[in-house]
């Protein structure tokens, strides 16, 4: 069998919102040696009975198929879709980025923030907290640019993802 290079994939799940459901999913990943790059989870239906979990993981195509098949076996998981292979999708992440600096670096940070459409949600004489939403790559490059300009702290949400077009996680 040819070994293909490992890539990254977004798997989205609909999960019964019950105690232990998240532990079951995380336990599956750690128990079988799969990697979790980021994980987001929140209830998404009107009664709070169903949560959506978005997991960014890595592996070969065969690995990702195996991960999805293992997740689908879990009783509280009603739906599991590998968005990366199910068609085009949108994946967005939000980050809060604290930059502590003054003088020219501070002005430069603000200028770059403006170019990235990052919002300063907290401002003091010596610091900014920027809020930035976008693809993980965009967040990565913003954070890289902030590094020499007084980057002090980063808090990221992990990605939320959804298919493009009229189709939903129930239908692709």
């Amino acid at each position: 069998m040819q070994q293909e290079a490992p890539g990254s994939a977004v798997i989205s799940l609909l999960v019964d919102n019950e105690s232990g459901a998240l532990a079951r999913i995380i336990g599956l990943f750690s128990g079988r040696g799969y990697n979790i790059r980021s994980l987001t989870v929140a209830p998404v239906d009107e009664h709070g009975l169903v949560s959506r979990v978005n997991i960014v993981t890595t592996g070969t195509l065969a690995d990702i198929r195996q991960i999805k098949a293992q997740i689908e076996r879990l009783t509280p998981v009603s739906r599991a879709v590998d968005l990366s292979s199910a068609g085009p999708h949108v994946a967005r992440e939000m980050a809060l980025i604290k930059v502590v600096s003054s003088g020219e670096p501070r002005t430069e940070a603000l200028r770059i923030a403006d170019a990235f459409r990052a919002r300063a949600v907290d401002t003091t004489a010596t610091s900014f907290v920027f809020e930035l939403t976008g693809s993980s790559d965009k967040l990565d490059s913003f954070i890289e640019l902030m590094r020499p300009l007084g980057l002090a702290e980063v808090s990221r949400t992990g990605i939320a993802a959804i298919c493009r077009g009229p189709q939903t996680i129930q239908t692709p």
Binding site: A23, R65, Q70, E72, R73, T75
Partner: protein, 604 residues
């Protein structure tokens, strides 16, 4: 008494709210439960009280919670029903963990009910509190903590549905004491839809047609069948027999699948894998179409992955989609119930053009017969009256003399050399008769398993083929056997070693027998007698048959100490990291073990 006063207490009884424990009993009865294997304790006292006050369900008191789970496993394997276990909180639940994982690995349907401290105390490090759902999450198919009385009945019903649906497995229901003491409403099973609807049992018809088309083109075909065929039910085993006869294709089986196809049938090549037969492994290596039916390409089966059945078109039928392409890339996966799939394959076989490769198939059979003629399971037994008994001789004679009784026979084993010899020398003609720990390899499985099988089949002959080391891991179950007068026959193949450990140490670690000698063994005859059983011993060849006959004829439990040659190794054998066509056939080739690479050594 007037009718009025007579009916009044009855009416009051039906109107009185049920306690959680009573609701539990009712749900178990509705699920068809006849037997529970368990051990009481503080957190389950209300359940034991409800058990005491009812007549439908029998309780078997084991001597250790692990044994309760193994007994329930054997009950389930030998009947096809869901096995039920009842244990208390904390240590009761943690003792059950090994059994639960054993059931998960071997796909055995179980429901384990565990007590828990009252919900108000959960998280307070209360007496005998354990995070049971946390601890058992990776060792169960699913588990629950029942927090609200209204969820109780529904949860129990769903637990049974999940345990038996799709690929079966163990489900644990953790029951806080306030839930079983307090009142709870009863709901029948049909009032809620259980969450098992994701299971696909009906295979894709196109895939079945493609599979049959591939079989029609096969010159060197092979069926590789597993425990899934037995789990699918008697009709799946019937279907397999019918399909094999229809095609005249050879059949090999995993350890878990023994009995699905008759062991004495000419088309059966024996078990494949690490200690499988020469003909089965070479056929696996040389076949051109391999049909995996309810088997999962376990590492004990495949040996070196890149050399596994290198030139075959592989078809894999499994009800669990996560097993497809997990270890071996297959050309044609079919997700569905294996019994149903075989049924459709038979239909399709008759529909498609006739099989045209009869001559090649005949040549394939001739090749297989040539491999078979090597008689890879042969061993040299010195025939002198006072000769030391070879373990293979002991096990073969147990099989032959048990067969002579003409009784329906169930065989459990512990784990190790004796287990592999039993798999090789016993020929099972019916499914559900072979009870062994395959996936997890749990020493101490056999004796409690014999308890479960004998409880399920009181009139059958139940044997545990054991090793002296394994059986000591759950020897306390002789107490259970005595209490319920279970006529289990425990045959201890006593070579004074953890034989398989010793074998690997000999092959891979320069015969440095580190800690594998069974020192300070008990006198098994006295041990038997202290547990109210009969004790027998054979130390020389001329005693062997007599002792086995006497044990089989005795109308009660027997412990037989068969003192056998200490240095025997289990052959044939695929050394770890080797391919199927690189088998070691006997002691004369043992030096090849020394060639095992470091990578191979890690695979042990």
């Amino acid at each position: 008494m007037t009718p009025k006063t007579a009916s009044a207490p009855q009416a009051a009884q039906t109107l009185a709210p049920l306690s959680g424990a009573e609701v539990l009993m009712r749900a178990l009865v509705e699920q068809g439960v006849e037997v529970i294997f368990g051990y009481p304790g503080g957190a389950v006292l209300p359940i034991y009280d409800a058990l005491f006050r009812q007549k439908e369900i029998r309780h078997i008191l084991v001597r250790h919670e692990q044994a309760a789970v193994h007994a329930a496993e054997a009950y389930a394997r030998s009947t096809g029903k869901v096995g039920v276990v009842l244990v208390t909180s904390g240590p009761g639940a943690t003792n059950a963990v090994t059994g639960l994982l054993d059931a998960l690995m071997d796909s055995i349907p179980l429901v384990c009910l565990s007590g828990q401290v009252p919900t108000a105390l959960i998280g307070n490090d209360a007496f005998q509190e354990a995070d049971t759902t946390g601890i058992t999450r990776p060792v169960t198919k699913y588990n629950y903590l029942v927090r609200r009385p209204e969820d109780l009945a529904k949860t129990v019903h769903e637990a049974f549905a999940i345990a038996r649906s799709g690929r079966p497995g163990p489900v644990l229901v953790d029951l806080p004491k306030n839930i079983t003491v307090g009142n709870a409403p009863y709901k029948t099973a049909d009032q809620d839809k259980p969450r098992t609807s994701k299971v696909r049992t009906e295979p894709d018809r196109d895939a079945v047609a493609k599979a049959v088309a591939a079989l029609k083109q096969a010159r060197r075909p092979l069926f590789y069948t597993g425990g899934g065929v037995i789990n699918s039910g008697p009709q799946a085993c019937e279907g397999l027999r019918k399909f094999a006869r229809l095609t005249n294709f050879p059949v090999t089986s995993t350890l878990m699948g023994l009995g699905a196809f008759p062991g004495t049938d000419k088309q059966f090549l024996g078990m494949l894998g690490m200690h499988g037969t020469y003909e089965a492994n070479l056929a696996t290596h040389g076949c051109d179409v391999l049909v995996a039916l309810g088997s999962r390409f376990d590492d004990r089966v495949t040996g070196r992955l890149d050399a596994f059945s290198p030139d075959s078109f592989k078809i894999h039928v499994d009800i669990d989609p996560s097993q497809i392409n997990k270890i071996i890339h297959v050309n044609l996966p079919i997700v569905g119930d294996v019994g149903r799939t075989i049924e459709l394959m038979i239909e399709e076989w008759d529909k498609q053009p006739a099989y045209e490769h009869g001559a090649e198939l005949e040549a394939w059979w001739q090749q297989i017969e040539a491999w078979r003629a090597l008689d890879c399971l042969r061993f040299k037994q010195d025939q002198a009256a006072d000769a030391v008994i070879k373990p293979q001789q002991a096990i073969q004679r147990i099989y032959e003399l048990a067969l002579e009784t003409g009784r329906d026979t169930y065989v459990s084993t512990e784990v190790g050399q004796h287990q592999m010899w039993a798999a090789q020398y016993f020929k099972f003609d019916a499914p559900n008769r072979w009870l062994t720990s395959g996936g997890l390899g749990t020493m101490g499985y056999g004796l409690p398993a014999a308890v479960g099988a004998q409880v399920a089949h009181p009139d059958a002959l139940v044997l545990d083929v054991a090793g002296e080391a394994s059986t000591l891991m759950n020897i306390q179950e002789l107490g259970t056997i005595a209490q319920y007068r279970l006529p289990v026959k425990l045959f201890i193949i006593n070579n004074h070693y953890m034989g398989m450990v010793r074998q690997w140490q000999e092959l891979l670690h320069g015969s440095r027998y580190s800690e594998s000698y069974s020192d300070a063994l008990p006198d098994f005859i006295k041990l038997a007698e202290s547990f109210h059983a009969k004790g027998l011993r054979a130390t020389r060849l001329d005693e062997l048959d007599g002792v086995i006959r006497e044990a089989l004829a005795h109308d009660g439990p027997v412990v037989v100490d068969l003192c056998v040659a200490e240095g025997e190794n289990c052959f044939p054998m695929i050394p770890s990291g080797a391919a199927h066509n690189e088998m070691i056939l006997g002691p004369e080739q043992e030096e090849r073990g020394a060639e095992v690479t470091r990578e191979g050594m890690m695979l042990v």
